[in-house]
Amino acid sequence: MWNNVLHWVDQPFTSATYLGMLLGGVLTLAITLGAVTYTIYGERKIIGWMQGRVGPNRVGPFGLMQSIADILKLLIKEDIVPAKADKALFMIAPIITYVPAFAVLAVIPYTFHHYFTARLNIGVLYYIALSSISIIGIVLGGWASNNKYAIIGGLRSAAQMISYEIPLALSMLGVVLLSGSLDITRIIEVQQQNGLWNVFPQILGFIVFLIAATAELARAPFDLPEAESELVSGYFTEYSGFRFAFYMLSEYVYLIAMAGLAAALFLGGWTGPFGLGWGWFWYAIKSFLFIFLMFWLRATMPRARVDQLMGFAWKYLIPLAILNLLISAVEKLYWLKG
């Protein structure tokens, strides 16, 4: 019985299977919310340290309760819908952005046991398809606010995210080509069999992936949609309380999901050095390295200009991503025949 609950992935449908799935889903939700809370705390603390400040240190020991206090504050804040806004769209837009952000976590394989992970044969495609739905929520939020900053922020987000989605997808395709499968678990297994992380044969693809992922997550130096010095805070300028919180939440859930994806596709997922166990531990370390890199970039780089941003994706990243795809094809023919 208990065995059926844990290994719901390859069991026939019984009540134990359903219980296992429900348990996996609810635990993923709880762990994600906790992880987002402390990612925000970590970001403020790490960037504070890089800029010679202390960061949050008042609420709880070392400021550890700061993010929890912030969430509680957002929960008891008034939910303001501006009089000129399109009310129905304004209210539904953060939910449209958040739902795919959470749903993409279903295919990220944190451990090889698959307690928390759906093994889909279209895993990579599922991630790309769902994550682009979030853009609709962002554009709708900007448009429905009927605010000049929000509408410019929403349109910039849309233009930026669709432009950088193509190099992102193309750089993932190099990995798919080497593994011959869209199933993320299978991609990790191939890396394990070859004894070689994809970051080495795919070094060009990994660089394109990192840049495109930074832009896709709208993080510095590509945080133009929320450029606070010119657009206040972009598409969520008019949002307050928990609707604002859902925009922030989806941003950080995507950060965690993208870190998980980078670890799976390029850094060998749960495989550790010297064949050591503890898959989830190595997975967490690799994801954290990706997240730390994003914080580091934010503390280091100045913001790109809007006219440089779009040209960069089309003139440099897309040709480079296609070149990487052709290189992977040649590698597959002559080197990693697998």
Binding site: V9, L105, S145, N146, N147, L177, L182, F246, G311, L333
Partner: protein, 122 residues
């Protein structure tokens, strides 16, 4: 023992949980906790503290539209490359030459757009 089918049910569960959290927080728990005292000043549109001038939902730069058009072309291209990448092992060297030709024709389009200054942002 097909592991792939259970996964799709799990995805549906994730979509349901994803909808349940915002609905629960915004419509069930939220109204009990948050105040609701709207006033004219509070509900006005934010414009850095001054009176809002005109409407925001007006015409906007056509360049956004051009990028959307380019996106459709290249997104479809990426989708065509997905099945090729998955079954590359079976296709072998012949598949590589075919994709060279496919990408060559697409790049003519990109270079055309580049020459027409579609990629510049002014």
């Amino acid at each position: 023992m097909v592991p792939y089918l259970n996964g799709y049910l799990y995805v549906v569960l994730f979509l349901l949980l994803g909808i349940a959290l915002p609905v629960g927080a915004l419509y069930l728990l939220g109204p009990l906790l948050r105040p609701n005292k709207p006033s004219a000043a509070k509900l006005s549109t934010y414009e850095s503290g001054i009176e809002p001038v005109g409407e925001a939902q007006t015409r906007y730069n056509v360049r956004y539209y051009l990028f959307a058009l380019l996106f459709v072309v290249f997104d479809v291209e990426t989708l065509f490359l997905v099945p090729w990448a998955v079954s590359f092992k079976a296709l072998g060297g012949f598949g590589l030459i075919e994709v060279f030709i496919f990408i060559f024709f697409l790049f003519i389009g990109l270079i055309y757009a580049w020459n027409k200054k579609v990629l510049e942002w002014k």
